[in-house]
Symmetry: C2
Subunit: 145 residues, 2 copies
DNA sequence: CTGGGAGCTGGAGCGCGCTCCAGGTCAACA
DNA sequence: TGTTGACCTGGAGCGCGCTCCAGCTCCCAG
């Protein structure tokens, strides 16, 4: 397939695809007689995997490193890729936990706002005099508006 | 507390804190007689919440909007905040699903690499002749290296 | 054989989210 | 009273990850 079709299928722009090639994130594809890029299904699969790595927070630097390893033969390359994936796996697992926690927090806050909207509790708009009273370091300084 | 202490507690840099204030993400704190910013515990809590919103993918634009609403009294503000949080909640829930899927994918890939490393299966280094044979659009074009 | 659409290259530009700097003030401590 | 270090402001700079552009070639339909 040509670059336009790959763009449609991958959801990336044509410019982005050429940019990815330039920086080495995707291998240079074959060219037809007119010098136009011709991609195969493997390219699309690779972009899909890259997208998942990116969406789960793997940085550009690491994605580049992984891409580089991917085109290098040898067990050393495989080992380093595995290690990267394991490390990333752990990060994803941690994110999963934080996401779960945040989900609960958001649900709590939404419930609170609902109670405020229904007039069940007061809107705690300003944080009361709390700020002006303060504790700790603030007490050691003269305060003014 | 002064800005340096807030920076240490929040994990943000002093510059970032001042930047956040400039763009309106955090409200301007009180100042002491020397013109130095004096923060209270509420500021730290707000930064913590902001951080969670950010870490779970809420964009700067939305965080700014939320920050703006937060200092506005009235039930309309509360309602909009609730709606934002509900919407974000749904996004987080979706991310949670994708993260779970990716975790499984990573585990699979790690397992595969382990088998390759142990010599149990061959290293599928180049995607074979697949690319050169091609299917679909590629066949309609003359091909060249 | 002509017109239009897709693709090509090299390079400039851009928005985000900080980050750094110069040049100064101020407060605490010795 | 002098030194030190945290803090102040305004503004420039920066790295990332694209995105856009000019000016060109090529292919295919009509």
């Amino acid at each position: 397939m040509m670059i336009g079709e790959l763009a449609r299928h991958s959801g990336l722009s044509v410019d982005t695809l050429r940019y990815y090639e330039k920086i080495g994130l995707v291998p240079p594809p074959l060219r037809d007689t007119g010098g136009r890029r011709v991609y195969d299904a493997a390219a699309l699969r690779w972009l899909g995997f890259l997208e998942r790595l990116k969406a789960t927070g793997l940085g550009m630097r690491e994605r580049l490193r992984y891409a580089e390893l991917r085109v290098r033969p040898g067990v050393a390359s495989v080992r380093e890729r595995r290690e990267m994936l394991e490390q990333h796996r752990d990060k994803v697992a941690a994110d999963l936990q934080r996401l779960t926690d945040t989900l609960a927090l958001l649900d709590d806050k939404v419930a609170l706002y609902r109670r405020i909207e229904s007039g069940e509790v007061a809107d705690p708009v300003a944080p009361m005099a709390e700020a002006a009273i303060g504790g700790g370091a603030a007490r050691r300084r003269k305060e003014v508006a």
